[in-house]
């Protein structure tokens, strides 16, 4: 069955992130001046206004900051997934990433639960970073 969910709109700001995902790496901009790790990508540091960046590769570990369980498909592409879980994961490096929690019953998910990245290869261009309960716990 063809993939019928929305795809990310790749632009000059977020291209390095999505290219990283294809290689199964979570890449975030880190400010060269103040070390702030930022998300979403942008040309300027929201903390110190510097334009200078390095790309940091996240270890893909974090905790569930919050989550929501969808019982309604607002887009037909998600109808077969109900109930599915969206979450904000707070990565150990700092950024809050909106994503899905997979490989876990919705009623087993808790805030602050440790999670790790798992990759969903969608097509030649797009791989989605999703998260599952941390295997080290």
């Amino acid at each position: 069955m063809p993939y019928n969910k929305p795809l990310p709109k790749i632009n000059s700001d977020n291209r390095p992130f999505w290219e990283g995902c294809r290689e199964h790496e979570l890449r975030f901009q880190q400010c060269k001046e103040c070390d702030h790790v930022r998300w979403p990508p942008s040309i300027i540091c929201p903390q110190c206004h510097s334009f200078e960046i390095n790309w940091l590769i996240s270890k893909g570990l974090g905790r569930v900051y919050t989550f929501a369980v969808y019982h309604t498909a607002f887009h037909p592409g998600f109808a077969d997934d109900l109930p599915y879980t969206t979450a904000v994961v707070k990565l150990d490096e700092g950024p809050h990433l909106l994503t899905n929690i997979v490989d876990c019953q919705p009623d087993k998910i808790k805030c602050d639960m440790p999670v790790e990245v798992i990759w969903e290869d969608v097509d030649e261009m797009v791989t989605l970073p999703k998260f599952r309960p941390s295997s080290s716990v």
Binding site: N14, A68, V69, Y70, F74, H75, P83, N100, C111
Partner: protein, 266 residues
């Protein structure tokens, strides 16, 4: 669908959509941080419905809500059930603002603006570090109360922007009516209902009257001050205090912007 996609941006890739999805994230974090949840929100949904049942203009006028109705309602985006969500309404509502000098000559005795405050934390919900408050309501409320020279103890009733039940709780909490998590007790015993000590959303609000954005609360606040609310009129009609001062709120995005306005009798 176009609007939903624009609103959600790349978050739609993960199936994150619309206001319900965003407020569900905020409400879940609040459950974790200060122990709120559906037991608190049920009292808000049922309390407002009782006001709607006194309001012939309300979409839910002839539809009482029992605790079982709430408990058995479908999840939309958990932890929010259908009755935690506001209505969808075609219609309109307006208020007219003029100088006090002109208003004194009008046939209807006006509601007078005592204080106004705005605060816009503006952070997109997925990036927010304060999903469980304080929201913009804290600072906006402080500014409005300071301008009016009063405190929350002087307020007779509240008309709170209620896109979701949780919005009512976090707004009243940030205004200082109760401490984080104490809403569970504060809403007990019909506090916000007809006959209660702090009536809230006396038209039924956006949950049970009609969704006219910020106009639902402020128009009701003005109408109550003016004494034009029939069977739901605050005062002897509903065994509540006759309103001298009413606090109204508005809120935008997913807890990203907030306005407070205090109205008083002339």
């Amino acid at each position: 669908m176009q609007m939903l996609m624009t609103f959600s941006g790349d978050d739609a890739v993960f199936g994150h959509f619309g206001a319900t999805g965003g407020y569900a994230l905020a409400a879940r974090r609040a459950m974790y941080e200060f122990g709120t949840g559906p037991e608190t929100w049920k009292k808000i949904a049922m309390g407002q419905r009782k006001w709607a049942n006194l309001n012939p203009d309300a979409m839910m006028y002839d539809k009482p809500m029992t605790a079982a109705d709430y408990d058995n309602a479908n999840w939309v985006v958990e932890p929010l059930r259908l009755p935690d969500n506001c209505l969808i309404t075609d219609g309109g509502r307006a208020i007219i603002i003029t100088s006090l000098e002109r208003a004194r000559d009008l046939k209807q005795s006006p509601a007078v603006i005592m204080g106004i405050g705005h605060h816009n934390p503006s952070t997109v919900i997925a990036q927010s570090e304060w999903m469980a408050g304080p929201t913009g309501a804290k600072k906006a409320g402080e500014i409005a109360f300071s301008m009016a020279g009063i405190t929350p103890a002087d307020v007779d009733a509240c008309e709170i922007y209620d896109c979701f039940t949780y919005t009512v709780e976090i707004t009243l909490q940030d205004y200082g009516f109760f401490k984080p998590g104490e809403g569970r007790d504060w809403f007990n015993g019909g506090t916000i209902e007809p006959g209660g000590r702090m009536p809230v959303n006396t038209s039924g609000g956006q949950l049970s009257e009609a969704y006219f954005m910020g106009l639902t609360p402020i128009a009701e606040g003005a109408m109550q001050i003016m004494g034009r609310c029939g069977k739901r009129q605050l005062g002897p009609e509903t065994q509540t205090r006759s309103p001298e001062i009413i606090l109204c709120s508005d809120n935008g995005g997913i807890l990203q912007s907030h306005s407070s306005i205090l109205l008083r009798r002339l």
